[in-house]
């Protein structure tokens, strides 16, 4: 049963990831990417990594992808014409994502309704993740935080110069 669910979720992930690359415009690709992330979340869940599964949805699907959509909307606001906007999202392209999302939703319902207990490969709880992150992988965490800080300062610098230039003109 679990392996069937994993295969279904995995094929949803693969198909939607392929669509991300093949879609010609950004919004189509983004919507498929959200779907792909949700599918990966389900796979994590089925493998017993519940913590990673929920974080996948919170951080990637819930926060980072919203930022992506936000940026695309902002660009759209600036220079695209209404005709371009209209051509960007066609009703037809919604058939794919909705169908794949329905499959994922029915898997979720099935899992919750039967409380499918994974013949645990290894159930990982939040405590283990924390101990690993602040134990053997401490260096990696610190390096990642340095990288993020550098990115933050860079973004701040770029944004600040932009506003100054606007004020001068």
């Amino acid at each position: 049963m679990e392996s069937l669910l994993i295969y279904v979720a995995a094929s949803v992930a693969i198909i939607s990831s392929a669509m991300v690359i093949t879609q010609l415009n950004a919004v189509h690709a983004l919507l498929y990417l959200i779907l792909s992330l949700l599918a990966v979340g389900i796979i994590f869940y089925l493998l017993g990594a519940h913590f990673a599964a929920v974080l996948e949805v919170i951080i990637y699907a819930g926060a980072i992808m919203v930022l992506f959509v936000f940026v695309v909307m902002m660009l759209n606001l600036g220079n695209a014409t209404i005709a371009l906007e209209q051509s960007w999202i066609k009703p037809r392209m919604w058939l794919g994502p909705s169908l794949l999302a329905v499959i994922l939703l029915s898997e979720l319902i099935l899992m919750f309704s039967q409380a499918v207990s994974v013949t645990a490969i290894n159930l990982v709880d939040a405590k283990q993740v924390g101990i690993l992150l602040f134990g053997p992988y401490l260096l990696a965490v610190e390096l990642a935080s340095m990288l993020l800080l550098a990115g933050l300062i860079g973004a701040y610098h770029l944004g600040r110069r932009q506003t100054k230039a606007n004020k001068e003109t």
Binding site: I58, F112, A126
Partner: protein
């Protein structure tokens, strides 16, 4: 580690919870208008039925029979899909809400994170709705909603980590049980304040209803919506108020805990209704901030406060243990 999901609800629980949550959301249409009326020293809807209670039915009939207009310039499929997202995500989030011992749908070990995940997915409803309407005001509303939700989500999760540290679990039922010796609203009052502000911003209620600010962008993201599609946004907002109140009660006010002479379910519903009324009062009493004020308030005041709360709570937990 025990089973990740203990199913505690039967079909009766699921149907009961679904219908009562929908009923509460529909009743809130009347409650909000009536209470704001009373607080603003006017009557509010008081003509239909006892206390004007039939106003709900009248509104429902009206909204169902209104023309469900889809603008020709809109993107039809997304336009139809967007209002459903908020209903589906918020209603699914109710699955982890612990109503009382033995009443609820699932008992999930990461229930708190599940709530955060679904409430962060619900923003797509507003964003896609504004985008698909293909209207400049709707798009502005959607852009505002995206930026606002991202900003307030950050410290929404951080404000709850104090509760997680004190109770040592993400499981909502265990968090309620951990409050037997004192509700977390006392030890985590800062977290409570942050969480309230965050959920108000997350559900786009006044004073944080900038995405639909009537005086500057008319109605924001739902400007092109009419009939039951508008109704879904409308009910979705009330559902999210109900969910937020239920979560505040679960996390900070001892959930179903209360004096023994009344059943636990009563205490849960009682506390939740008080918080719902608080949200209504908030709308009646506070003005809307400017958009840049909203953003800088979030990043420059609330986020540092959340981090300080996290640090102090962590330090105290370690100090108490040693």
């Amino acid at each position: 580690m025990t089973e990740p999901i203990n199913q505690i609800g039967t079909w009766i629980d699921i149907i009961g919870i679904l219908s009562s949550v929908m009923l509460v959301a529909a009743l809130l249409i009347w409650v909000e208008r009536r209470m704001i009326g009373i607080w603003q020293d006017r009557l509010g809807p008081n003509r239909l039925g006892p206390l004007g209670l039939m106003q709900v039915a009248a509104d429902m009939i009206k909204i169902f029979f209104k023309e469900d207009w889809i603008p020709p310039f809109a993107d039809k499929a997304v336009f139809v899909l967007a209002p459903m997202i908020i209903m589906v995500t918020i209603l699914t989030a109710f699955a982890v809400v612990p109503f009382a011992p033995g009443i609820g749908i699932i008992d999930f070990n990461f229930g708190l994170l599940y709530f955060l995940a679904l409430s962060s997915l619900s923003v797509y409803s507003v964003v896609l709705g504004g985008y698909a309407s293909n209207n400049k005001y709707a798009l502005l509303g959607a852009v505002r909603a995206a930026a606002q939700t991202i900003s307030y989500e950050v410290f929404m999760a951080l404000s709850l980590m104090g509760v997680v540290m004190l109770s040592g679990t993400f499981n909502l039922r265990d968090i309620v049980e951990a409050q037997r010796n004192g509700w977390f609203c006392l030890s985590q009052f800062l977290g409570l304040f942050l969480f309230i502000v965050a959920v108000v911003a997350e559900s786009h209620r006044t004073p944080f209803d900038l995405p639909e600010a009537e005086h500057e962008i008319i109605a924001g993201f739902h400007i092109e919506y009419s009939g039951m599609k508008f109704g879904m946004f409308f009910i979705g907002e009330y559902l999210s108020v109900t969910l937020s109140s239920a979560m505040i009660v679960t996390l900070f006010f001892g959930g179903w805990l209360g004096p023994e002479f009344l059943p636990p379910l009563f205490w849960f519903c009682f506390k939740t209704s008080i918080w719902i009324l608080f949200f209504v009062l908030l709308r009646a009493s506070l003005p809307r901030p400017r958009y840049d004020q909203l953003m800088s308030f979030g990043w420059k005041f609330m986020l540092p406060l959340a981090l300080i709360n996290l640090l102090v709570t962590g330090g105290l937990v370690l100090w108490m243990e040693s």
